[in-house]
Symmetry: C2
Subunit: 200 residues, 2 copies
């Protein structure tokens, strides 16, 4: 790692902590610059806007999650267990991510376009990983080999939908511990039924 990318890493970590504690809208570039001992002007050299910085923070989190799932896909366990673990880790991932981003409700609306782009790329990555798990299960005889090709996309959309639906209907769109417990139960019920439904 060269000096620049080391510095960038340091900035991302400081920004991540700030966003997690105070939410996107309350954090200033000055504070982040001060955290890593640099001037505001220098920080802008790395990240021209707070939005750019935030985007990089989220993107880094998404990449870490994708790497974790890559590892999971490579493990010598059944495709069924990979799928179950994937759903569990995904729920934890979004739990973390929400802390970073939606402490302030308006933030989410302001950043919708920015998020859209980030999440479209992320969805592609998730689809590839999920496809690998389903294909593996079909190949090794765990899953029904005649599954419709829309199954992977539908599965991911069901996961997304279950989460979004809950966020939409709760107060201020803020997920509390109780909501997560509820969501975890629903995800578990769903995955159990889904896996039985795609079995060979």
């Amino acid at each position: 790692m060269n000096d620049n990318s080391l510095k960038e890493k340091e900035i991302l970590e400081a920004a991540r902590n700030r966003f997690a504690h105070y939410g996107f809208s309350k954090v200033t570039m000055e504070e982040i610059a001060s955290d890593v001992g640099m001037g505001k002007a220098s920080l802008y050299y790395y990240f021209p806007t707070k939005e750019d910085l935030f985007k990089s923070v989220i993107n880094k989190e998404q990449n870490l999650f994708a790497e974790e799932i890559e590892k999971l896909v490579g493990r010598k366990i059944s495709a069924e267990n990979k799928l179950k673990n994937y759903v569990k880790k995904r729920l934890e991932f979004f739990h973390e991510l929400v802390n970073l981003s939606t402490l302030n409700v308006n933030t989410f609306v302001d950043l919708k376009l920015l998020f859209k782009e980030l999440f479209e790329d992320f969805e592609k990555k998730e689809l590839q990983l999920l496809q690998r798990i389903l294909d593996e299960g079909k190949m090794n005889g765990e899953f029904d080999s005649r599954l419709r090709h829309e199954t992977t996309l539908t599965f991911l959309h069901l996961l997304q939908g279950l989460r979004l639906r809950m966020i939409k209907f709760i107060k201020d769109n803020r997920m509390e511990r109780g909501n997560y417990d509820e969501l975890r139960v629903e995800m578990t019920v769903f995955v159990e039924i889904f896996i039985k439904g795609i079995k060979a």
Copy 2:
């Protein structure tokens, strides 16, 4: 039916047509009053605000849908087919409903609270009907009798989520024909897998 409830029915039909063609925000109480040949003041006697009128229109549609599902639940077909038909009819119902309500995007935001109330009641009704279908399937041996009690709620939330997720990610939150075709495929894939997953 007395004169008052006849008049009310007439107003609701006129309002439904107006909302369906022009969207909530563009329709005026004057126009609706004129459609049914009454003065604006008389219309306000039945419905004090346009929001009240709109709420009654939606509520009526929801009741019609619930009645249709009541009939479906009473039919002598398998619980599996009831569930499949339910999902199909539900998709059609929301397709119709969206035409009434979201011709103007801002409308949906303005009416969020109003919708919330309406949809909470509707969710209770839907849950009861779905529970009857699942219970019937458990009783007659079609479905696994050990299904978790959260299954009904999770099933409904998955249906809601799949729809909301799509609305969230499309341009202007307006569902086009292509989006419906896509949603129909996803619903079909989901229901097939879900039914297989809950079978005895």
